[in-house]
Amino acid sequence: MALLEVDHLSVTYTPRDQPANRAVHDVSFRIADGEFVGLLGESGCGKSTLGNAVLRLLSPPAHITGGRVSFDGVDLTEADEERLRELRWVDLSTVFQSSMNSLNPVIRVEAQFADTFAAHKVPGDVTARATELLELVALDRRVLRAYPHELSGGMKQRVALALALALRPKLVLLDEPTTGLDVVVQRSILTRLAELRRELGFAVLFVSHDLGTVLEMADRVMVMYGGEIVEDRPAGEVLREPRHPYTRGLLGSYADPRLPEVRVSYIPGRPPDLSRTHTGCLFTARCPHAEDACRTTHPDLLPDRGGLVRCLVAQEDRLPVVTLGTAEAHTALGSHFPATAGLDRPADPADAAPVLTVERVTKRYTSRRGLRTSSVEAVRDASFTLRRGTVTALVGQSGSGKSTLARLITGVERPSTGEVRFTGGDGPDLRVDRLRGRALRDYRRHVQMIFQDPFSALNPTRTIAYALSRPLANFAGLGGAAARERAAQLLESVGLAPAGQFLDKLPHQLSGGQRQRVVTARALAPEPRVLIADEPISMLDVSIRAEILELLGDLVREHRLAMLYITHDLLSARLLADEVLVLNQGTVVESGPTREVIGAARDDYTRLLLDSIPNPFAKATGRAASPSA
């Protein structure tokens, strides 16, 4: 008997205002003692719903509509709340993406451990046990005395992990535990997690949309699409030969940025709408190998070469053979998808005219605490130039001063010393660090921003047409029908066609990728010279990141824009940028043409960033991504 047995589980959302949505459909799987299983898929494929259903944490309008879950011999679908309470956390614990926010802000970390022990009547010295647990997740014992707000996101997430392991559970559900943290922190948490599992031997169900991290960590991988499991096989096998076209598509988003030629691919389209009934295979609309039979026959999950796959073409062995893990194969894989993002191109920034120059800029923040004042240099002596038609990537961890530089360039803040000069306008050169009021507003027409979170960058109560009409009215003097027509053109220029379908929509009716396109269209509306993109893809699904990168790259070339691309992800920098600046604690540690900086990194910090990138192929090619030590 396996530790966790899920049989024919179905979950349906029945909201009052929308049609019912079968988020999880007839899912069966087993997890053995100590096994590390990854659950993969884009957002909206039912992964988290499945995870929550296993823990019986679903809240209305979601309901389990069929099947059963049994854990260690106990039927969880039938168990009452009291029985569940005994099991949860003791044998079955969890860490969510937002777990760092689940720490109680008004009590110290130690007290949160004490609560956990008290709730489950664990005897013994709380401090000793809590210290031991913190050591497990590589945190200092001083953290015990801290309040949650005194800790960074990564530290809080580690505390959440320590709490999840506090009662030595048999199974830990990790739902996107490192999404939203930056690459270096993510790497250190994952490394620690792998070590812990070896030491303590708990089983893990690891839910993520990031195939790179899952493949590195897991023994076995299950891929979910449209509420169904479409592939289930050992992680090594998935790397060697993924059998479902969807898995292949997901793998296409990864590449080693250090290779001389880097290609990624993406899966066009979005997951299916589960509130409608579909005939045939759910992936047909996005599948490059779809045949006539796929449109009419719904495939079953059948054994196939040491795993399970739900694909007619693969089951009949007519899927083109691809061996992953080599650059050539990866290129071949990309070509299976019609919209390969051929983003890699030689950098030639020499002939581009400077648009904005940052010269020896330092930004000091002074804070007063009681009688003492302390000052922090967020940016130290940074100099660089943004040029027409060129993408400059600013790479660094969170807290390295990237966003401060963006604020200095946009005039939101002023540097303590140094100059920011804008030379791209029609008039005389501007000293951005001296602008105020009206002049600052006029300057912003030339410098526009693309935000990190497409969900908060658009006002939820305003239509797309309104969002686009504002810059047009303020900077181009367009109103009424003229503005609407221009807004439609802008939408089509960012790939939202036909525009008429989008103009009168509200943001919540669009997907994350579509919203980011709208945000981009709004930034283009005043015809700026400089575009600042602050982590524009980090909140998006891995499968559509390349799509947005491709769009940004095209826009830069087409409009001859200077772009500052802010990121912690060197792979995307490698794909998009002509020049790279690596920022560590406010100081530029390395800069130059992208290929040179990334291909032959000289600085230790740059190498650390490179090593932290999740790279599923590292396992296959035997070159393990070395931990951050």
Binding site: P268, D273, T284, R286, T461, P498, G500, Q501, Q509
Partner: protein
């Protein structure tokens, strides 16, 4: 204006737009969304029906009242009889007619003072929260002052010493003493909203502060504003009744508070005229109850999680 989307997307094309269109079509109700949500909540439905009854009563008061409320030719201090269902006052006026016409005063005061104090609170709260800095310091000081000054004594003083009398004086007095609470809540809400990316984006789009507040921020706090209005209207109705009961109301206006005042002065308790005493009190409590019930529904409006069951 959206064009109908094809039902089946061609393979390989973008399926996103089609799905968004499908979800939009799935909404079949013709009533506005906010009303549907309010109506679904049982408590709120009862509240809406009660309020509707009071509104109808107030609007059609002259038709519904059996007599002129100021007509004092009837026998004095009658108990409930066939021709005077709730009896007559010590001056010989019909209590039922006064009750019906008095609904107009309460409704008018609730509406006008509610709107006025919501507006004051909105302007001060939004400006303080959005602009920040010394403007916030000054306005927050005013808000705090408004919160700690005891409202009833201030109301009584203002009403007692004002050179004019009348229902509008009462409305103004209630508004200037009752805006602070709403302003404080709105200020806190704006502080959380003003750091949203879309506000920054509006700045980059060249919008000015006033426009950002009116077009980007206010629409995101509708439910809070409605909630604030309900609270202010409730307090205003209670405040008017209190002032009138203390004899500080307009002597020429018929209101439930004034009725209570006269019942007390006219010795309704001693003469056993329970109807004269209880009717206006009960009407007030029912009106206030209806507002409270509606607020349950407004909670669901601002928090989608409360809509499900």
């Amino acid at each position: 204006m959206s064009t109908p989307a094809p039902a089946v997307p061609a393979p390989g094309t973008d399926t996103e737009g089609v799905q968004a269109a499908a979800t939009a079509v799935a909404r079949t109700t013709r009533l506005p969304g906010w009303f549907v949500i309010l109506w679904r909540n049982r408590k709120c439905r009862i509240g809406l029906l009660m309020l509707a009854a009071f509104v109808l009563l107030a609007v059609f008061a002259p038709l519904l009242a059996p007599y002129d409320p100021h007509e004092d030719a009837f026998p004095t201090s009658l108990g409930p009889t066939g021709s005077h269902w709730l009896g007559t006052t010590a001056q010989g006026e019909d209590v039922l007619s006064q009750l019906v016409v008095g609904a107009r005063t309460s409704m008018l005061v609730g509406l006008a003072a509610g709107v006025l104090s919501t507006l004051i609170g909105l302007v001060i709260g939004l400006t303080a929260g959005f602009v920040g800095g010394w403007v916030d310091e000054v306005l927050s000081f005013l808000i705090n002052l408004g919160l700690v000054v005891p409202a009833l004594p201030l109301m009584v003083t203002l009403a007692a010493y004002a050179p004019v009398r009348g229902i509008w004086l009462i409305i103004v007095v209630i508004s200037v003493t009752g805006w602070a609470y709403g302003a404080r809540i709105k200020r806190s809400q704006v502080i959380t909203l003003r750091t949203r990316d879309y506000v920054t984006a509006a700045r980059f789009a060249g919008d000015g502060t006033a426009r950002i507040i009116a077009r980007e921020i206010v629409p995101n706090m509708t439910s809070l504003i409605v909630l604030g209005f309900m609270g202010a209207a409730l307090a205003a109705i209670g405040g008017e009744a209190g002032l009138a009961f203390l004899g500080l109301g307009d002597p020429l206006t018929v209101s439930w508070g004034a009725m209570l005042n006269q019942a007390s002065l006219g010795g309704a308790m001693l003469t056993g005229q329970w109807a004269w005493l209880i009717a206006p009190g009960l009407a007030l409590s029912l009106l206030i109850t209806s507002f409270t019930l509606i607020n349950f529904g407004i909670d669901a409006l601002s928090n989608p999680h409360l809509r499900e069951d």
